[in-house]
Structure formats: structure tokens, C-alpha cells
């Protein structure tokens, strides 16, 4: 027991110490802040620890669950506090606005109190705004005051939150009544409020704010980490918004937030820590809000279409960015597409070829008709034989001689036998003559051609003649000599020599033979002379030389 008590005391003592420190700080004079006293500093640290730990439950996502003070710099401590305070500030501001609006909607119930509260809230807000400015300038001390004020503000929020719950309960009840007429657009409560406001304006009454101004929350929620001061909505602003810039959100945005708040408030009822869930909710970004909406499926058709469009657009954009499938690329080789993929795709070709004819009965019938027609006509396309050129000469027709032959049969046989054996020369008939002549000519020509064209020369054919050749040398008949040798060379010298007897040279002659030759010469000479004289006498008729008579000279 004692230990437990001691434990409790120990637990409480840091808290108490912190509180005491805070009290001391509060009561201290301002000049004391400026002095450098370690005691004061210790107090300040303790107080800040206490405040920090008291605020921790209202804030999630904190890296530290208590303020680390020992051995840390002023800057570091300040940073830790900052980590806690920033989100808290924004949530607190939101809560203020919400409460303010809801507070004003409860016009008929407790106007005076609400107004009073509202004024208080306004005052407190102003204080906070002033404090915010102060925090930026000073150190830890001012921050503590700001956090202190936050705490106060939160306490107020708690109260207002409860009041809100009551409000919303009333509103729900009201809605259940007028369900037949009402829908998203038309709400009886809103209509009444509006009418009252209009009357009030007309007649100069103070205007009560109706529901449906929730759009401000949307706008403000979007500005999350803003340290700037926001202009809290005044009446004039609201009217301007309605009249000039009526938007979709004016009509439907409120529904979203309202529903969300319902959830939020439901959550609040369930949980003991009131602000935490609201904070959680309002810390969500717009995307989360949208997600919640899509899950709830209470969108209008237009919004649904928009969503579809958006998703389609996203898909298409994604498809455009991705590389195309192989079928959509231009010329694709086999290497660029997966194996056997061309078999799976239904390839479409334009065939420029006429398809093969299908043989129907009609076709065969038409063919047969053509055939029949042709047969009847007898018109066929057969191969025809060409007429052959006459290449042989016309045959000789031997005419029969009808006269009786003069020779007897025996004689005819005799002649034939003689021809065959070669005893009698063959008789040449006219045609035979021509033939032989022709063959002779031809043989000559062919001999010449052969001489021109063949390497092996065929000699002249031997023509056997029976004629006698005078000057053929005896040897030629027997001897086979080359033709290049002429006949002249073949004759022996004696056969060529025409002279007679024994021929002797001058040197070889004897004396008597010389005398005899001379005497012969003289006689020959004289004779010649006498003959020429005689002729000359005969020509002239007289003897020209006197003393010369016609006597014969001595022989």
C-alpha cells in the first residue's frame, strides 16, 4: 500500500512539480524573465515538460511522447514544442470555426448565452492570434503561454463540441420529420432559416446564420499548415459568397462535410478523448475525403460521370505513355515480338488475287454447253499437220521404146559379158556422156576442195587412156617416180641427141682429117658463091663483069 501510494506520489510529483513550476512562473514578475537565474530556468523546463505531457494525448504522430529537457539546448526544446504545437494549432482553429457556426445556428434556443460564448470565443481567438504573433518573437516562455491558451481553447471546444452534438441530434430529428419532401437540395430547416433571415434583413433584425455555410470549412481545411491568419467569416462575406459565386459546393459540399462531421461526432460520442478523432479527421487531406465519399456511394450522377471520365482519362494517359503493343507498331520483325504471337493474332490481309473458282453445277453445265456447241459445229483446235515441202526431184520416167530391137538377144548378152570382163570398151550413150562429163567436172571440183580443206591430200585420179604417147621415156612406163620430177629429166642423153656418128674435137683430129674438113668447107663455099652469082645474073640479065662468061666454074 505504502509502495503504491509512494508510486502514485511519484507519478503525481512530476505533475505537481510541473504545476508548481508553472504557478511560480505565472506569479513571477516580468523583469525576472530577463535575468539569468538557473532556478528560474529549471522551473521553466519543468513547466514546459508538464504542459507538453498534458497536451500529448491530443496529438498523434508525435516522434516524442515527452519533452526531453535535460541537457538540451533552448533551440532543441523549442523545436520539440513546435512539433507538438503546429498541428494542434490548426486543428484548434478549425474547431473554433465549426463551433462558431453551430453556435450561431442555435438561434432560438439560447441566444444570449451563445452570443456571450461567441463573444468570448471571438475574444479568445483574438488573444490566440496575438499570442501567435508573440510566440514567433520570444523564446520558451511565450510559447508556454500560447500552449496554455490552447489548452483553454480546447476546453472551450470540448464544451462547444457537446453543444454541437446536441445541435446535430436536433437537426437529425428535424430531418426525419420532413423526409417526404426533402432531399439533398431541399431541407425544411434550411428553408425556414433562410426565410427568417430574409425577414430579419428586411425588417432590420439580427441575422441568424443558417446551416449550409459549411463550405468555409472546406476552404479552410485545404489550408493546412498555414501560419497566416485567416479572416474568420463575417456575415457580409457570407452573403457575398451566396449571391455572386454560387457554386456546386454551396449546395453539395456541405452535404459531404455534414456527413463527415456526423461520423466524426458519432466517433466522438464513442470515444472518451473528444478532440482526437476530430483532429484525425481534419488532418486528412482532400484525397482521403474523396475516398470516404466514394466508399459511401452517395454521389450525384454528374459526379459519377465526372469520376468515370477522370478514370478513363487517367487510363488513356497511362496507355499513351506506355510503349505500344507489337501489333500497333509499324513493321515488326520476328525478333521484336514474342514467340508464336503472330499465330494468335487474327491478321487481316487484302488479297489482290481473285479467289479460285468454286465448281458448281452451273459452272459444269455451262462448260458442257460450250463443248456441245463445238462438237455440233465440228470446230476443234487440234494440231494440224503442215504440208511437206517437196525435197526430192521428180522421178525420171523412162520411156519404153516400142520398136523391135535390132540386135538379137544373144548379141545383147554377148555385149554385156564383154563389158563386164572388160574386153570391149563400154559404149557411151548420150546420157552417159553427159553423166561422165558431169562426174568429171564434179571430181575436179571436189579434188580442188579436198586440196583446200583436207590435211591428207588425195592425188589425182588416174585416167586410163589407150592413146599412144610419143615421147614418153621408156623408164616412165615402169618406174614410179615422184611427179615433181619432170619428163625432160627422165629422157636419157642419147635420146635427146640428134646428131650422128663419132664426134671429135679440133684437138683430136689427125692431119688428114683436118685437110679433108677444110676441103669440104672450100667446096661448100664455092658452091654457094656460084649460086648467088647465078641468081644475080638472072636478075639483071647481063653479065656485069667483063671477062666473066657463063662458064661453069671449076669444081
Amino acid at each position: 500500500m505504502a509502495a503504491a501510494v509512494e508510486m502514485e506520489k511519484e507519478e503525481e510529483s512530476p505533475m505537481k512539480k510541473g504545476e508548481e513550476a508553472l504557478e511560480r512562473l505565472r506569479s513571477a514578475d516580468p523583469p525576472l524573465y530577463l535575468t539569468q537565474s538557473s532556478e528560474f530556468a529549471r522551473d521553466a523546463r519543468a513547466a514546459s515538460c508538464f504542459l507538453f505531457s498534458s497536451l500529448v494525448p491530443f496529438c498523434t504522430k508525435l516522434p516524442v511522447d515527452r519533452l526531453l529537457v535535460e541537457g538540451f539546448d533552448a533551440e532543441q526544446i523549442w523545436y520539440q514544442i513546435d512539433l507538438l504545437s503546429r498541428p494542434l494549432l490548426s486543428t484548434v482553429r478549425r474547431e473554433f470555426k465549426r463551433l462558431e457556426e453551430e453556435h450561431h445556428s442555435r438561434a432560438g434556443l439560447s441566444t444570449i448565452d451563445a452570443d456571450g460564448d461567441g463573444e468570448e470565443m471571438v475574444v479568445e481567438k483574438d488573444e490566440i492570434s496575438v499570442d501567435d504573433e508573440g510566440d514567433e518573437e520570444d523564446g520558451d516562455e511565450s510559447e508556454e503561454k500560447g500552449s496554455e491558451d490552447e489548452e483553454d481553447g480546447e476546453e472551450d471546444d470540448e464544451d462547444d463540441g457537446e453543444a454541437d452534438e446536441e445541435e446535430e441530434e436536433e437537426e437529425e430529428a428535424g430531418e426525419a420529420k420532413g423526409n417526404v419532401v426533402e432531399d439533398k437540395f431541399l431541407k425544411m430547416q434550411d428553408l425556414e432559416n433562410y426565410l427568417e433571415n430574409a425577414e430579419a434583413k428586411e425588417y432590420g433584425h439580427p441575422v441568424k446564420k443558417g446551416s449550409g455555410r459549411k463550405e468555409k470549412d472546406d476552404d479552410t481545411e485545404e489550408e493546412e499548415d498555414d501560419m497566416d491568419l485567416e479572416d474568420f467569416d463575417s456575415d457580409g462575406d457570407e452573403d457575398a459568397e451566396l449571391g455572386a459565386n454560387a457554386r456546386y459546393e454551396d449546395f453539395f459540399g456541405g452535404n459531404k462535410k455534414k456527413q463527415q462531421k456526423k461520423c466524426g461526432t458519432v466517433g466522438k460520442r464513442k470515444r472518451s478523448s473528444t478532440e482526437l478523432d476530430a483532429v484525425d479527421h481534419f488532418e486528412n487531406t482532400d484525397e482521403d475525403v474523396e475516398k470516404n465519399d466514394s466508399e459511401q456511394k452517395l454521389l450525384s450522377t454528374h459526379e459519377k460521370e465526372l469520376q468515370k471520365m477522370r478514370s478513363k482519362i487517367e487510363e488513356m494517359e497511362k496507355a499513351n505513355l506506355d510503349p505500344k503493343s507489337w501489333t500497333m507498331q509499324g513493321e515488326v520483325t520476328a525478333a521484336k515480338r514474342p514467340k508464336n504471337s503472330a499465330l494468335e493474332v487474327d491478321l487481316d490481309f487484302e488479297h489482290n488475287v481473285r479467289p479460285a473458282p468454286v465448281i458448281t453445277e452451273e459452272v459444269t453445265a455451262s462448260l458442257e454447253d460450250i463443248i456441245k456447241k463445238r462438237i455440233i459445229e465440228g470446230h476443234f483446235d487440234d494440231v494440224e499437220r503442215a504440208p511437206i515441202l517437196p525435197s526430192k526431184p521428180p522421178k525420171e520416167t523412162k520411156e519404153m521404146d516400142e520398136n523391135k530391137s535390132k540386135k538379137g538377144l544373144a548379141e545383147i548378152y554377148e555385149e554385156e559379158y564383154a563389158q563386164k570382163t572388160g574386153l570391149a570398151p563400154a559404149l557411151l550413150s548420150a546420157s552417159d556422156k553427159l553423166k561422165t562429163e558431169a562426174t568429171m567436172l564434179f571430181k575436179k571440183i571436189s579434188l580442188k576442195l579436198d586440196a583446200l580443206s583436207h590435211f591428207h591430200f588425195a592425188p589425182k585420179p588416174v585416167i586410163e587412156d589407150m592413146s599412144i604417147q610419143v615421147n614418153v621415156p621408156a623408164l616412165a612406163m615402169e618406174e614410179v617416180a615422184p611427179l615433181a620430177v619432170s619428163d625432160a629429166a627422165m629422157l636419157a642423153p642419147e635420146e635427146i641427141f640428134h646428131g650422128k656418128g663419132n664426134i671429135k674435137e679440133e684437138a683430136e683430129l689427125t692431119k688428114e682429117e683436118r685437110k679433108r674438113r677444110r676441103a669440104n668447107q672450100k667446096r661448100r663455099f664455092r658452091r654457094l658463091k656460084a649460086e648467088t652469082f647465078k641468081r644475080a645474073v638472072q636478075k639483071t640479065g647481063q653479065s656485069a663483069v667483063p671477062g666473066a662468061t657463063n662458064e661453069k666454074p671449076d669444081s
Binding site: 489482290n352 488475287v353 479460285a356 465448281i359 460450250i370 463443248i371 462438237i375 483446235d381 494440231v383
Partner: protein, 307 residues
């Protein structure tokens, strides 16, 4: 033998190359002849050459007046000699044979078709391809004086291609076969009876363009000269570049005007896709007379073989 063949081929090619000039010449002479016959003035562009050409015209006889083309060279002996055809298939035509017996072998459509084609063409000899090279086959044919070789190709047993090669350096025509119906399929063997093997009459319908005439020529010269009174008819009918082959036997029962046709023999569609001026083994080197162009934008509108 080889040298001789090459020499002949060179001569053929040379004469073919001269055709251009000869054609011009021929055209000029023809114009002059026409002008003279009709009594019109000679066209002005021929005035300079008119005298020389006129001389030549006078010297011409019926054989030299007509322009000789390489086609005439190719089919010069066709009218004198009967064509002798060798039928064969692509290599190893029955790849799904496996352990099948010969009977089963015979029931494959390609082989059946092959057998039937042999009956269609008179003077045809069938040869099993085995693993012979094309050039060997051509040499063999040249040695044995065949005028044409026909290859039948197949895809998974179904005949799909026909190559008709005319032999002494003649043209080769490549056809695609479609809608093949063999005799086997039409009716039972017993109902059909044996096929008549007389030399048939030919009908070549709607081959009106120049290329059509050329194809008609190629197809015509596969068949010998028939007797005028045969009852067997083979039809090649062209309709928008698809040539239908039909084989009928006819009878004239009730007088000259009534004809009864009885279909006999295989039926298929041919589609020409190439003609080359050479034999099959010169497929890469020889000049292509005509090639099908199916990817042209106007391919659908064209009727190449006529009408």
C-alpha cells in the same frame, strides 16, 4: 554431244535475239504490201526504204513472207512428228508411306492422279521419280527423243503443281493445280470402265490474248493429230485466268444435232504462273517470258489469258 547441244542452243538464242529487228522489218513490209493492195499511198516513214523493201516483197514466197519466231523454232517439228511425253512426279512423292504396302501406295491421290494423267495423254510414258535429278531426266529425254516432259508436284498427297517442259530447248510452263477431282473419286472403277485411248479432239476456249495464244499452243502440242471422227474430247476452258480441264466422251444418238456427253477422266483447274524460255533445268538462267504478279494493285482487274 554436249558441244552440239550448246551450239544449237546458241543458234536458237541468236535467232531469238534477231527477232526484234526482224519484226520491224516484217511490219514494214506488211504495211507496204497492204498499201499496194489497197491502192493507197505508202506511209511517209517508209518512203526511203520503199524500193528495197518492194524488191524483197517480190522475191518472197509463201514461207518467207510469214515471220518466223522462236516459237516456230520450238514447235517446228511438232506438226510432222507426234509428241512423245514423259510423265513424272516430284521427288519421293509418297512421304507418308512408311511401312505401307504397294496397294496403299497406289491409293494416294498424287499417285492416282499421276496414273490417270498418263491415260489422258496419248503417247505418254510414266516414270517413277525416285531420287533422280532434273538435269539427268532432261538428258535422258533428249537422248530418247521425247518432245515433252511433265512433272506433277504435290503437297501432303494432294497434287498442286504441274510443270510442262517442251524439250529441244523449248518453253516451260508452270501451272498451279486446284480443285483436283480424280476419276477414282468420281465413280467406281467398274462403273467407269476403261478409258478410251484414241487420239482426242481438243477444245481451247477463250484464249484470246497473246499470252493466251502462247499457252494454248503449249497445251495443244502435247497431243497428236487426231483422226477426224474420234469420240474423245479434251477441253481447256479459260475463265478469268483459271483454265478448266475436262475430259469427255461424246455420242451422237439422235441425228447430227443431239450430243450426249459423258465425263471421263480427271477434272482440275490450272492456273498459269510462269513461262520461261528454256527447259526445266535452266529455270534460274533462262529468260522469263511471263511471270504472274499477284501483289500488284490491279491484279484483280487483269485477265491475262484472254477476255
Amino acid at each position: 554431244m554436249l558441244k552440239r547441244n550448246t551450239r544449237l542452243r546458241m543458234e536458237y538464242l541468236y535467232r531469238k535475239s534477231l527477232e526484234g529487228k526482224e519484226r520491224e522489218y516484217y511490219e514494214k513490209k506488211r504495211k507496204i504490201r497492204e498499201a499496194l493492195e489497197e491502192g493507197k499511198p505508202i506511209p511517209t516513214e517508209l518512203r526511203n526504204e520503199e524500193a528495197a523493201l518492194r524488191q524483197e516483197i517480190d522475191l518472197e514466197d509463201e514461207y518467207t513472207a510469214v515471220q518466223k519466231t522462236h516459237i516456230d523454232d520450238e514447235y517446228a517439228t511438232a506438226s510432222e512428228k507426234d509428241p512423245k511425253i514423259l510423265l513424272t512426279t516430284s521427288r519421293e512423292p509418297s512421304q507418308r508411306l512408311g511401312q505401307f504396302v504397294k496397294v496403299c501406295f497406289c491409293t494416294l491421290p498424287i499417285v492416282i492422279f499421276h496414273l490417270e494423267l498418263k491415260l489422258v495423254f496419248p503417247n505418254a510414258a510414266r516414270m517413277n521419280r525416285g531420287s533422280q535429278v532434273i538435269s539427268e531426266i532432261i538428258e535422258f529425254c533428249r537422248a530418247h527423243e521425247y518432245t515433252d516432259v511433265i512433272f506433277v508436284h504435290e503437297h501432303r498427297g494432294e497434287p498442286d503443281n504441274l510443270v510442262i517442259c517442251h524439250l529441244p530447248f523449248g518453253p516451260t510452263a508452270f501451272f498451279e493445280l486446284l480443285n483436283v477431282v480424280t476419276r477414282h473419286d468420281i465413280k467406281d472403277k467398274k462403273a467407269m470402265g476403261t478409258m478410251s485411248e484414241a487420239y482426242p479432239h481438243l477444245i481451247l476456249d477463250n484464249f484470246s490474248s497473246k499470252l493466251g495464244q502462247r499457252t494454248a499452243n503449249i497445251l495443244k502440242h502435247l497431243f497428236p493429230v487426231p483422226k477426224p471422227e474420234t469420240k474423245r474430247i479434251i477441253t481447256f476452258a479459260n475463265k478469268s485466268d483459271y483454265i478448266s480441264f475436262r475430259h469427255h466422251v461424246y455420242e451422237k444418238h439422235g441425228g447430227p444435232k443431239s450430243v450426249e456427253l459423258k465425263e471421263v477422266g480427271p477434272r482440275f483447274e490450272l492456273r498459269l504462273y510462269q513461262i520461261i524460255l528454256g527447259t526445266v533445268d535452266q529455270q534460274n538462267e533462262a529468260q522469263k517470258e511471263w511471270v504472274l504478279r499477284p501483289y500488284m494493285n490491279t491484279a484483280k482487274k487483269q485477265n491475262v489469258l484472254g477476255a
